[in-house]
């Protein structure tokens, strides 16, 4: 079960804001989900991990190719200038 404090911390990590009403509903749903997810905590299982290995010969040749241009990369930014993202001043 998560507390209001923990929820606040998670929201900060997630960069999300919740009103008080939303928060109460979210905490209720969230605890319901955690309860469901917690089934695995006590499962007896051998510790293992599966990591797919990539054979070295499968890597492509290291040849420089034209990718997206700087203008293309920032083309979807809400604010941009000279190929850079624009954000409000950070230093006062």
């Amino acid at each position: 079960m998560i507390s209001n404090e923990e929820f606040k911390h998670l929201a900060e990590l997630s960069k999300l804001e919740f009103s008080d009403v939303e928060r109460d509903k979210f905490i209720k749903d969230f605890n319901h989900i955690l309860d469901f997810a917690s089934q695995i905590i006590n499962a007896k299982v051998e510790e293992k991990s599966f990591i797919r290995s990539i054979p070295l010969e499968d890597l492509r040749e290291d040849i420089v190719k034209q990718g997206l241009t700087q203008a293309e990369v920032v083309s979807n930014a809400p604010k941009q200038k000279k190929g850079c993202y624009v954000v409000p001043r950070i230093m006062e």
Binding site: L13, F30, I40, F50, L68, N76
Partner: protein, 471 residues
Amino acid sequence: MIELGVIDTRDKILSGEISSEQITREYIKRIENSDTNAVIEIFSDAIEQAKAIDIRIKEGFKGALAGVPIIIKDNILVKGKHASAGSLILKDYIAEYTSTVAQKLIDAGAVIIARANMDEFAMGGSTETSYYGKTLNPRDKTRVPGGSSGGSAAAVAEDLCCAALGTDTGGSIRQPSAYCGCVGIKPTYGRVSRFGVIAFASSLDQVGPITKNVKDNALLLQVLSGEDSNDETAEKRAVEDYSKYFNQDIRGMKIGVISYVDDIVKGLDVEKNYNDFKEFLKANGAEIVNVDIKNLDLVLPVYYIIAPAEATSNLARFDGVKYTRRATDAKNLEEIYLKSRTEGFGDEVKRRIMLGNYVLSSGYFDAYYNKARSLQANLREEFLKAFKSCDILIMPTAKGEAYKLGEKSNPVDAYKEDIFTVSANIVGVPAMSIPFGVGKNGLPIGMQIIAPHFEEGRLYRLADFVERRAK
């Protein structure tokens, strides 16, 4: 009515009976007249694409999908076109490049006519969480089409295109295919490139075709498959000609039935169809083998830990700086992040971001995330072991017919609907949903068939047989 699939349409176009332009215009008219909200946008250049293909065909072009109108899910990029993953936060995003799967369709001669509705960022099983509103199931408009590729499956079922592409992270191709009466495959993880597909959970996502019949499905998967220098997870393996698996019998095929699945199917609406399916296979010479998969009862929690953990990381990039939408009243950088994300994401996406951050945060990482990864590795071994005694595993795709719109408002109830589909993603194996009979309301029911890694051919052999022989 044009109720033709991919191969029939292509053959009619190549023989000159109809032009790609004619059939594309017909489909556009249908989309415009449809009230299911399966399609978000008809691409403005669809007719031009068709005209260009018609010219190439006159010059001798004979691509596998020559002139065939296809719809793609809203999370697949085509340069210069909108793709929003069903989310407000990407509403105005225009792709800067084309995904490998879309490029393969284009190279094979397909006409990409529209983008289909979906659950926001593919998180959901009903297509009710889209920013663009709900999609209705064309077979019963009071019901969900399934999801997250609900728009794609509904469009195929309603005959708004010859076929559609979906993506599947925990059942998002198979379950809507089952609910809409289509054939849908989630290929082996690594069979199809994910380059240019808006990511949900990168280690589980796969693109796959949703079609009107099995042979179309095989052809499309063949077109989509293969290695990709832009996606190292797309494996270097020969692409098979799946047509060699058609028109065979299933005599001697070993069909694995999982005891845990048999237990949970009892009492569900799908029980009769599932038992009929087993009888059908047996009557046609297949051998039913009972297998056990240890810890299969934990696969849903494993999925709902691993998928949100990956989603949290993948969705961190949507911050109001790089992609299209920024909150207008943000005063500083921190507020840009907070307000843009808070406004831009829907509730289900927020829940999963929060859950992902929870299981990845220190103090919980070992108990949840690492434990889930261990269980995933163990489940993978269990499936490999099961496949030593059978060729294909079967289970239902969903618990029954499509449910009513708005019926699953509790998140955990909705998550539990994925019980039959998530294991194929967790383990990485290919799985297909094929129509098999109807439920008590006369709506389609899907059966799921699962093969070992890269053995899609086995699925097509069985699916083709079922399609030809089952009533």
